[in-house]
Symmetry: D2
Subunit: 136 residues, 4 copies
C-alpha cells in the first residue's frame, strides 16, 4: 500500500503496561493523534466545520495487533484514506517499528460527519475534496 502521510513517534514508558509492552488501548491514541496531524496538514479546519454545525464522529475501529512495541522503541504511523459509499470516510493507518520497518499494527478507522443539530450524516465539500484528491 502507498501512504499519503506519516508521523514518527517514540514509545513513552508510561504507555507500557505490566507485560513491559505498549498497552493495546494506547495504539488508538497514536492513531488518533496521527489522524489529527494529517487533517491539520491538509488544511481541514474542524473548528470551522464545527462552527458551521458539522461534527466528525468515529463510528468503527478495527485494529490488528501484529507485534508489540516495547519501552524505547521508535516507530512511524502511516496513513492512507478511502471512502465507503457517499458518507463514510475511512482512514487506513499502519504502524511500523523504526528503523527495521517491522509491521506492528494495521488499523482501519471509519468516520462520518453529521449535522450537529439534526444528527444526520452529511458529506461536507471540504472533506470530500481532500479524500477525492487522494483516493484518485
Amino acid at each position: 500500500m502507498e501512504y499519503i502521510f506519516e508521523l514518527p513517534f517514540k514509545v513513552r514508558d508510561y504507555e507500557c503496561d505490566i507485560q513491559g509492552i505498549v498497552n493495546n488501548a494506547v495504539y488508538q491514541n497514536y492513531l488518533e493523534h496521527t489522524r489529527h496531524e494529517f487533517l491539520e496538514h491538509v488544511g481541514l479546519n474542524f473548528a470551522k466545520m464545527h462552527d458551521e454545525g458539522i461534527d466528525a464522529v468515529v463510528i468503527r475501529v478495527e485494529i490488528d495487533y501484529k507485534s508489540p512495541l516495547k519501552s524505547g522503541d521508535r516507530f512511524v504511523c502511516k496513513v492512507n484514506v478511502a471512502r465507503e459509499g457517499n458518507l463514510k470516510f475511512v482512514f487506513l493507518q499502519d504502524i511500523y517499528r523504526l528503523p527495521d520497518m517491522k509491521l506492528i499494527v494495521k488499523g482501519k478507522v471509519t468516520a462520518v460527519t453529521i449535522n450537529a443539530q439534526t444528527g444526520r450524516p452529511v458529506a461536507p465539500r471540504e472533506l470530500v475534496d481532500v479524500f477525492d484528491q487522494y483516493v484518485g
Copy 2:
C-alpha cells in the same frame, strides 16, 4: 444476545476529551478491565499460566461506536465468549448506558494464547474448559 458476566462503571471526567465525551480509546480500557475481572471471576489464573510459560495476547479488536458516553454517565460492560477455530478465543463485549440501557459500544476482542518460548499458539486446557462451559 445473552451475556455471562457484567461490570458496572461510572465515567470519570479525566476520561472525557475536548468534545465533552469519553475518548474513543478509553472504551478499550473499559473492555480490558472487564475482561480481566471476568477472567478472575471464573478462576482463570494468568499468573499461574504465565509461570507455566503461556501468555495471552490480543490479536484483533473491533469496536462499533453507537452513541457516546458523557461526564457523569453510569454504564455497564457485558461479556459473552466464543471460539474461532481451535486457537482463537473471542470476547464479545457490549457497553450499555444505565439506567436506560441505550447501546453505546459493540466490541469484539480476539485473543490467542502462545507458548512464551516458541511464540507458537497453544490452547491451554484451563482456558478451553472455561470457554466450552459457556459456548455450550
Copy 3:
C-alpha cells in the same frame, strides 16, 4: 485526621506500568475523580458556576508516595478540606489500601476560582459555604 468524604476504587491493570505498580501520574486521576464526586455529593454545581462565569482551577499539587498499589489492589481515597487565605481552597486527599488501611499516598491539591472573563480570583458564596461547613 478526620475525613469528610471517601470513595472506594479497585486498581485496573492498564493503570500499572512496567514495574507492575500503578504509575505515579494515575494517582492524580484518582484524586481528581474523588474531588469531583465529593463536589457532586455536596451539591456544588460547577456547570452552573461556569454559566455564571466562574471557573475552578488547580494551581498546585503535592503528592507524597508512601507505598505503591499493585494489580488487583482495592483502595479508598479520603478527603478533607481547608482554606488558605480568602482565595485558596485546599483538598487534603489520602489514599489507603483496603482492607489493611496501609497509607499509600498523601495528597494536597490547591484550587482557586476565577472570573472567567477577567481571570481574577473570586470566592463564590456557594463554595465558601461548603468549605466553611467542614472547616468549622
Copy 4:
C-alpha cells in the same frame, strides 16, 4: 535557573479534557518521559541498576500550574537536578510553551534509590556521579 537537558513536545488532543486544556495529571506524564530521556541521555542504565538490585522510586511530586496548555500547543520540558541530604535525588522540571516561552508548569520530583531486597535507601555511585557533575 539554568537547565541541563530539554525535550520538545506537542500537545496531543487526547491529552485535553472537557475544559479544552491539557488535564492536570498529564503533565506528570510529560515530566516522567523527560526524566527518562534525560537519564538515557547521560548514560544511566536503570536496567543494569535493576539487575544489580537497585530500584529508583519517586517519593514526592510538587507541581505548580502557572498557565494551561491547549490543543495544538508546542512546548518544551527543561530539567535541572539537585540533591537533598545524601539519599535524595531531586529533578527540577519546568515546562514552557513554544515559541513564546511562557511558563506553564514548575515541577519538583524527589526520588530515592533503594536496595530492592532490603528496601533500604542506597546512593549508587553511578547516580551520585551524574548528579555531582551537574550540581557542581
